[in-house]
């Protein structure tokens, strides 16, 4: 693996929930990233964010890592779950909440 792929693997393996996004959780720089943050906020479980706009290597590398062409991207326990559309569908179906519970990640909301 290249250095950036190793870096990404380290990030997703050392945080239960990681969102690769444009901007920060407080100031998302894209509507799709904003939507992903809103969903995670509603669930209330703590999550780590990586601002790809601050790191061009990760911005390009994350697309290769998951073989997924767009950002945001959500990872839970090291596994890629999808982008904001899938996140929304899973949230509306209650699947995201169930998956977090199965993984022992407590929701506070």
């Amino acid at each position: 693996m290249s250095d950036v792929q190793t870096r990404i693997a380290d990030i997703v393996n050392s945080n239960d929930i990681v969102l690769f996004m444009k901007g920060s959780a407080l100031f998302p720089q894209c509507g799709f990233s904003s939507r992903a943050v809103t969903i995670l906020d509603r669930i209330g479980a703590p999550f780590h964010t990586v601002d790809v706009l601050q790191d061009p290597e990760i911005r390009a590398g994350i697309k290769e890592f998951s073989d997924w062409p767009t950002i945001p991207q959500l990872y839970v326990k090291g596994e890629f779950l999808g982008g904001s559309d899938i996140l929304m569908e899973m949230y509306q179906a209650g699947e995201l909440q169930a998956l977090l519970q199965e993984n022992g990640i407590a929701a506070q909301g």
């Binding site: 799709f32 073989d67 997924w68 062409p69 999808g82 559309d85 899938i86 899973m90």
Partner: protein, 77 residues
């Protein structure tokens, strides 16, 4: 660069012939779309695989030319 809705639909249909494609122009600007794609070929596939099938149909435009496409997928019924 904006892309006409009909072209998006044509690309999806070329790769997934049985697809029922509904495209909504969210902002009326020919740039921000929502696409809903229903196909029997999605049956039994996880959502990530369903979305990847549509991305493949769009031939690498997703995230580039199509930077603002919302996508939802489903199977018939």
């Amino acid at each position: 660069m904006p892309m006409p809705a009909a072209q998006i639909e044509a690309l999806i249909l070329a790769a997934i012939p049985d697809a029922q494609v509904t495209i909504t122009d969210l902002a009326g600007d020919g740039d921000h779309y929502a696409a809903h794609v229903i196909s029997a070929s999605f049956t039994g596939k996880p959502r990530i695989a369903q979305h990847k099938a549509v991305f493949a149909a769009l031939g690498g435009r997703m995230g580039g030319e199509l930077h603002a496409l919302q996508l939802t997928t489903a199977t018939p019924n």
